[in-house]
């Protein structure tokens, strides 16, 4: 329109289809951020995404890059196989908390320890979304889920796993950050972290991961607004935000 400047639009690489995510879910925000970063870094031609088993399995309907679906938890092993064959591509996995921190823990730790030049986008909403709200490895102590009807008991179920801190001592990890998508400010920080993680991979510095705290109103049985509040008040004290590790690369 005459006299008006376009300040925001649909990212070029977010396909123009309605998504299946529940209202208030964080996945659609994270998809948009990925599409924006892929556009800004101009890597759509060489980006390959490994979607998980979980709500985000259908990511290939939304993000306009090549994708290979992995079995539950095996994302980083699949990414390892692909990246070793195509070292100049930007290969990233997109995984939920069950996929990454329960069934796929071994693959994650060893890929990270080998310093595979891949990026993991880890969406932590503290619950199994697609299967209907069971306890995840990152469920809060006391949090009610369909398999912890009285709340997660730290004695019988163990406390929630803090994956960034867990991976931090490994020499192979180059960039680890925890962010959130519960407010515009944090969404911007998440985008910055994703960008930095991809950059880490493109510089061939080692394994990179962004853990993103994300809303799941449907399984939390909360409204969208209350879900954002739960991240702020319930999750962030347990999962502190920020860059957990950034390996300083030696000047060449």
């Amino acid at each position: 329109m005459k006299g008006m400047k376009k300040v925001i639009g649909r990212p070029k690489y977010l396909k123009e289809v309605p998504n299946h995510y529940c209202p208030g879910c964080g996945h659609s925000i994270i998809h948009r951020l990925l599409a924006e970063v892929i556009e800004e870094l101009d890597i759509r031609d060489r980006a390959i995404c490994i979607p998980p088993c979980g709500c985000a399995v259908l990511a290939y309907y939304y993000i306009d890059v090549d994708m290979v679906e992995a079995a539950h938890g095996r994302g980083t092993a699949v990414a390892t196989g692909m990246k070793r064959c195509l070292p100049d591509r930007v290969v990233f996995t997109y995984q939920g908390d069950g996929d990454l921190a329960a069934i796929g823990t071994a693959e994650l730790i060893h890929s990270a320890n080998r310093g595979e030049s891949i990026t993991t986008i880890f969406v932590n909403n503290g619950v199994y979304g697609m299967t209907g709200g069971q306890m995840a490895p990152t469920t809060m102590v006391g949090q009610k889920t369909t398999t912890t009807p009285k709340g997660r008991n730290s004695v019988t179920d163990g406390p929630p796993l803090k994956m960034c801190e867990f991976l931090s001592p490994l020499d192979g990890t180059a960039f680890l950050a925890r962010t959130s998508v519960h407010s515009p400010k944090h969404i911007q920080k998440t985008k910055k972290a994703i960008r930095q993680a991809f950059q880490t991979q493109m510089n061939d510095e080692g394994f990179s991961m962004v853990e993103i705290l994300s809303q799941c109103p449907s399984n939390w049985k909360l409204s969208s607004v209350d879900s954002c509040r739960w991240i702020e008040e319930g999750m962030i004290p347990q999962f502190p935000l920020g860059v957990v590790k950034q390996r300083q690369t030696e000047p060449s």
């Binding site: 759509r44 031609d45 060489r46 980006a47 390959i48 490994i50 979607p51 088993c53 399995v57 259908l58 290939y60 306009d64 890059v65 090549d66 994708m67 290979v68 679906e69 992995a70 079995a71 095996r74 092993a77 699949v78 990414a79 390892t80 196989g81 692909m82 990246k83 070793r84 064959c85 195509l86 591509r89 071994a106 693959e107 730790i109 060893h110």
Partner: protein
């Protein structure tokens, strides 16, 4: 090494070298006895070959998923393991079959179930020929009995995998892995088939995806039909077998792999004594050479299935013969390797009983 020169190689080395010559560029695997000489050979040899990837995975589960990732990029890739490890790979093999990613999996079978032992066995026949993992699928299963054949079938396995976009299992045992025989190695493959389906980044074209999640039942059914038609095509074209001394035989022993080597020795002994015994040796376990074995039933009244397991391949023989001839099982499970002399005694007893009945 001169062209067509015979070299003396250990089984695991022969398989590894044949794979590399077939254009295998990636090996992923986890240590397990009795097949460790194969990854060790690959680690040594691939370090000399530029553009190849050797990676010791943290588990067979991770290894087969690395195979899946590498195959998705269109690269010729293999893994190897032994029975318990191949059990762990079944999830990945199901996904490879579903996504039609070519791959070669070597199973150096050991005695089982459970941890079992490390002796030569054939107890993974069902697992290999019936799919093994979840869902409706098949793998091509090749069972060499001699090292030259192991070389040739390994070389062929990569072509079959690419042609049909299917996982191919090469099945052997510790005896084959350890023994040494002279072999002629094939040339290094230069021109590998182009794979327009490979996922390598979208470039300037439209983005693509490969998946096995097909929520719409009609889409899943169509996919199953597509796979089924492919399997039918393979069943028509690819069965392979060897018949030995079957022309005038009254009784035929059916055996594959190491069991077939033993059986051949036993059959020779019986022939020397004038007994009309022959050997039928399936080379492809799936597709099973059903037509070839059924043809033999036109003149042979009795089939004795000798397997180093307890009643697995005998089912395929019975299905193939469909009541046309008598089928009996002689199974030696648990890793026991009988000698040709021992087997010839068993065979002559059954042969004489049959003659007596007649």
């Amino acid at each position: 090494m001169k062209k067509n020169e015979k070299v003396l190689l250990r089984g695991s080395e022969a398989i590894g070298e044949a794979a590399l010559r077939a254009g295998c560029r990636c090996y992923f695997g986890y240590p397990i006895t009795p097949q460790n000489e194969l990854p060790e050979y690959m680690a040594r040899r691939m370090a000399e070959l530029p553009g190849t990837v050797f990676l010791q995975s943290e588990s067979e589960l991770a290894g087969i998923n690395m195979v899946y990732g590498a195959s998705a990029t269109g690269t010729r890739v293999m893994t190897s393991s032994s029975s318990p490890g191949v059990s762990l790979m079944q999830e990945g093999i199901s996904y490879l079959a579903a996504c039609e990613f070519p791959s070669v999996i070597v199973n150096i079978v050991r005695g089982g179930p459970g941890l079992g032992n490390i002796a030569p066995a054939q107890s993974d026949y069902f697992q290999a020929t019936r799919g093994g993992g979840h869902g409706d699928y098949r793998c091509i299963v090749l069972a060499p009995a001699y090292l030259q054949e192991a070389v040739d079938l390994t070389y062929r396995a990569f072509d079959l995998a690419d042609e049909y976009r299917i996982p191919v299992i090469l099945i052997g045992d510790g005896m084959m892995g350890q023994m040494m025989e002279p072999v002629v190695l094939p040339e290094f493959r230069k021109d590998l088939p182009a794979k327009e389906w490979a996922i390598t980044g979208a470039g300037k074209g439209p983005s693509r995806f490969v998946r096995s999640l097909l929520l719409d039942v009609h889409v899943e059914e169509a996919h199953n039909w597509k796979l089924y038609r492919k399997y039918q095509r393979i069943e028509r074209r690819e069965p392979q077998s060897e018949s030995y001394a079957t022309e005038d035989a009254d009784m035929v022993v059916v055996a594959y792999g190491t069991a077939a080597r033993i059986a051949k020795g036993a059959v020779r002994r019986l022939r020397d004594k004038g007994m009309k015994v022959g050997l039928f040796r399936p080379i492809t376990l799936w597709p099973f050479p059903s037509k070839a074995v059924a043809r033999l039933a036109e003149s042979v009244g009795k089939f004795l299935v000798f397997e180093m397991s307890m009643g697995q391949m005998v089912e395929d023989v019975k299905l193939a013969l469909n009541g046309k001839a008598e089928v009996e099982l002689y199974g030696r499970p648990g890793g026991v390797v009988v000698t040709p002399v021992e087997l010839s005694r068993i065979l002559s007893r059954r042969y004489n009983a049959m003659q007596h009945e007649a």
